[in-house]
């Protein structure tokens, strides 16, 4: 059922493979609720976290996932590695391979870097976010979270709000939820809407009140403040006024709608604190589920014959 040695993106996965990962993840979720949260399947394996972009939760999540599976973990970030001395990506990768690593978890600001490493190395490569392309484990954990609340994905209405152009989370989630038969809506300022999304079979809104109507799931994205200088919208206040997720706006969705955010949050920019901490928020649940999903991905890739 699971043949590729790498997890590069949701785009490359079949629905069977997605369900297989989610099913395995639910086994790991049980493990995480035990007194002894560690299981032995990756004993003797080494996971290298290679992060060329800042990240706390994804890196920690992968690190803990690997440790819970009894693997050894090495963390490399750009500021502490030889990359600052001018080493090329290819040489860094080959060095990691020569050290005997079995997995590389890679985050990079350029799209396609995990694919490049995948061709270069015969060990498993896991994409932890490549530029504005994909962040597959985030989409998998979002699917897992929605499934645990809604018991199905098919025919749900998922509203994704925010900076769709720059968001790999949005792109992976659009692939993931449409593959599994949900109706995906994106809500964003026209300036943050990439041309290609129109071909993905999704609905596009630039008005929150219309887009949130009767949604089952509200997923608001982090506004990437580092790109604010490029003036895609006038000001943060204006963004919050038009696209901020407020208690009133949440009421437009279904009564039992859940509110999700991939983190880190900018409170008062894309989401109001009352919503982030409110009864419909499953944001912390997403973090817990991320651990189970990443354990499942590492575990299943370890079983693939290389």
């Amino acid at each position: 059922m699971f043949k590729a040695k790498d997890l590069l993106g949701i785009k490359e996965l079949t629905t069977d493979e997605i369900y297989y990962i989610l099913e395995t993840a639910s086994g790991f979720k049980d493990v995480l609720q035990r007194d002894i949260k560690k299981v032995p399947p990756l004993r003797g394996k080494t996971v290298v976290n290679l992060f060329f972009e800042p990240s706390t939760r994804t890196r920690i999540s992968f690190e803990l996932a690997a440790k819970r599976l009894s693997a050894d973990v090495i963390n490399l970030s750009t500021t502490t590695s030889s990359v600052v001395k001018g080493e090329t990506l290819k040489d860094t990768a080959l060095t990691i391979k020569a050290l005997g690593a079995d997995f590389v978890v890679i985050r990079h600001s350029s799209a396609g870097v995990p694919h490049f490493l995948s061709r270069l190395l015969n060990i498993s490569v896991i994409n932890a976010g490549d530029g504005a392309n994909e962040h597959p484990t985030q989409a998998l954990l979002d699917l897992f979270t929605v499934l645990s609340y809604k018991k199905k994905i098919k025919d749900l209405t998922i509203a994704i709000i925010g900076d769709i152009t720059h968001s790999r989370v949005a792109r992976s989630n659009i692939y993931a939820f449409t593959k599994l038969g949900a109706q995906v809506r994106v809500i964003c300022p026209p300036t943050l809407m990439p041309a290609e999304v129109k071909s993905l079979g999704i609905e596009i809104y630039s008005n929150m009140e219309e887009g949130l109507k009767k949604a089952d799931v509200i997923m608001t994205l982090r506004l990437q403040l580092e790109r604010q200088s490029k003036a895609f919208f006038p000001s943060l206040e204006e963004y919050f006024y038009l696209y901020g997720l407020t208690t009133e706006r949440v009421k437009l969705a279904k009564d039992n709608a859940i509110v999700m955010h991939p983190g880190p949050m900018n409170r008062g920019v894309e989401i109001e604190s009352e919503v982030a901490d409110g009864p419909q928020s499953v944001i912390l649940e997403q973090v817990t589920n991320g651990l189970a999903v990443r354990m499942a991905v590492l575990y299943l890739l370890a079983g693939v014959k290389k």
Binding site: M1, R34, V39, L300, A302, K305
Partner: protein, 177 residues
């Protein structure tokens, strides 16, 4: 050609005898807990527990153990693992835990099951009950309660069918090529 080893009535009698043996060996049912190994062992553990409850008073705790994460063949197996449920309903500390499985073969599943079980606590004793012991052990493991010993060739398959899975109760031997 495949050969039937046990039929409906045989399985019933065998389980009744095993229930008696479990009670006899443990001098009652105090501190007793049955844990079935996914998948075939789970049904058998439930049946053994109800047999024991018919003989002795009181309820017998029955747990379910999935050993997928403890297997030693993640890289060598052809088919990929499917994770099933684990459910240990009581604390197993200082209990007598009887692991229940359908077929005892190489012993590797039992090794994995013991590792898995010990992550839930420290039982006073772990015992093993199997419906069929077909030999060919690769580890120093033996069963305390055996339904039926069956000599087999390594490549034969022993298949256990149980009503709870929608099949008629029977055990058959499919000779290997």
């Amino acid at each position: 050609m495949s050969k039937q080893l046990l039929d409906y009535n045989d399985i019933k009698r065998v389980l009744r005898r095993m229930a008696h043996e479990i009670i006899e060996k443990n001098k009652g049912t105090e501190n007793l807990c049955l844990v079935g190994i996914q998948k075939g062992g789970v049904i058998l553990a439930r049946r053994l527990a109800s047999q024991i409850e018919l003989i002795e008073s009181g309820r017998i705790a029955v747990g379910i153990l999935d050993i997928t994460f403890y297997r030693d063949d993640l890289n060598t197996k052809e088919e990929q693992p499917v994770v099933k449920r684990t459910e240990i309903p009581c604390t197993i500390n200082n209990k007598t835990v009887v692991l229940v499985d359908d077929v005892l073969f190489t012993g590797r599943s039992i090794r994995a099951a013991m590792d898995a079980l010990i992550d839930f606590g420290r039982p006073a004793y772990i015992q093993l009950a199997v419906l069929i012991d077909r030999g060919h052990r690769e580890l120093p493991i033996r069963a305390d309660y055996v339904g039926k010993n069956i000599p087999t060739s390594f490549n034969d398959r022993v298949e256990v069918f149980l009503e709870e899975d929608g099949k008629k109760d029977k055990v058959i031997l499919v000779p290997g090529l």
